[in-house]
Symmetry: C2
Subunit: 253 residues, 2 copies
């Protein structure tokens, strides 16, 4: 299954390679989740769907653009064809494709793959078998109060708690691509990544990254403090706090 | 002069290429500005100094590591060998070398060059002759209240005003490399970049970026609202707000 995900992510890479991003910023439709679809998202999604069809459509598909495609399969492929669309369009080098395979919710995701579309790094995870970047096993960072790096979504739609938590780290950053930011926590670069804003973040942005994080030793919670789970659905959204080491939570109370 | 700066930045690129960043994180000395020097900074600085020596040391040097080197020249090269050292060491693909040439203060800087050491983009500026990225003329972004992107330094040492301003943009980001973030404002990707923290930002981080920003149509202010100037010196620091379009300031009052 990881091989198939690799191939799907490669298809996106090839479809976008050499394209002038400025030409891909026209809004072409309203996505299944209610946010406008950019041409770049559509091109990437089509590359995935075509590649999947070549393999006989072995998976159902859940996508931010197309919604649910029922191929009569047992498992569902949850895709964010381009995570960090804004970055891609304006030339900020942080965007990715995110692919996850599961049955009906975050908690049963079996496989996840995130590909950094600028630098080529590939993050993969298989439930119970660990998380890897380019073959190297990932392990989250132990909490060290003097050296914290928090990734916090900010801006006009962020909650007061977001600003509160952003003020508690040695370094606070925001890169604007959720799957890559979860990968930064999974790989021990950052201690925490949170989004607490309106609108909340979409299931398709999180599905692969959550498995990656958990397989690397981290955990993700909703803003009530419960372990995060989300049903598969095109309009599913949630806020969250993801940490590499649970002790980070004690440090921000 | 721009050719010389190109060559110096190329020397840094070559010196760091293929190095394992994890091996370069030992703190080896206390820099002239009072912050610890990492091996990566020292390697990059040496590459610049050696290349400059080959040219007969036509410039004095002001560096965060070495302090002031008086070569009896009329002009001074202000260098930040690696801007975004933390990013480089932990594998975040966002760091640069920043080079500027002037006499005694920010306001008389004649030439600036910033090279993105990950992606290779080169930003250059010559006073009165414009700012360019890879040969393309740069122009800051016009203010559009619905589409603002602010770059704001946050974390435990940031001022309350930083959080206040971070809450007013459609998108708030922080990438952790001052010269590249000034280049993002100069090139119209972002509307504003500010650092208001303790310790403040160093002259060497700003010297090239400020000329780039001004030549692209933007301006930079200290936190009293005056146009920013800073005398050349190894311990010079300041807080600042840089904008592409002055109307951005009206939007955040």
């Amino acid at each position: 299954m990881i091989d198939l995900l690799q191939e799907l992510s490669e298809a996106v890479h090839i479809a976008l390679k050499g394209r002038k991003m400025e030409d891909l910023s026209s809004q072409i439709a309203m996505g299944a989740d209610g946010t406008p679809t950019q041409e770049i998202d559509k091109i990437a999604e089509n590359a995935i769907l075509e590649c999947l069809e070549k393999h006989g459509n072995p998976l159902n598909v859940l996508s931010e653009e197309a919604g649910i495609i029922d191929n009569g399969a047992e498992n569902t492929l949850v895709i964010d064809p381009v995570d960090g669309t804004f970055n891609a369009l304006v030339g900020i080098p942080f965007y990715s494709v995110s692919l996850a395979v599961g049955k009906q919710s975050l908690s049963d995701v079996q496989f996840g793959l995130i590909r950094d579309l600028v630098h080529g790094a590939v993050y993969i995870a298989e439930k119970g078998k660990g998380a890897y970047m380019d073959g190297q096993r990932l392990k989250t960072k132990d909490y060290d109060p003097g050296k914290t790096v928090f990734l916090v979504y900010l801006g006009e739609s962020a909650s007061p708690m977001s600003f509160e938590i952003a003020s508690k780290a040695r370094r606070t950053r925001n890169y604007g691509a959720a799957s890559l930011e979860l990968a930064m926590v999974a790989s021990g670069v950052a201690d925490l990544y949170m989004v607490d804003a309106e609108p909340m973040i979409r299931l398709v942005d999180l599905a692969a990254g959550v498995l990656l994080l958990r397989e690397a030793g981290g955990e993700i919670y909703n803003t009530d403090g419960d372990v995060l789970d989300m049903k598969f659905g095109p309009r599913e959204r949630s806020n969250f706090i993801a940490v590499g080491d649970k002790k980070v939570l004690e440090g921000i109370v």
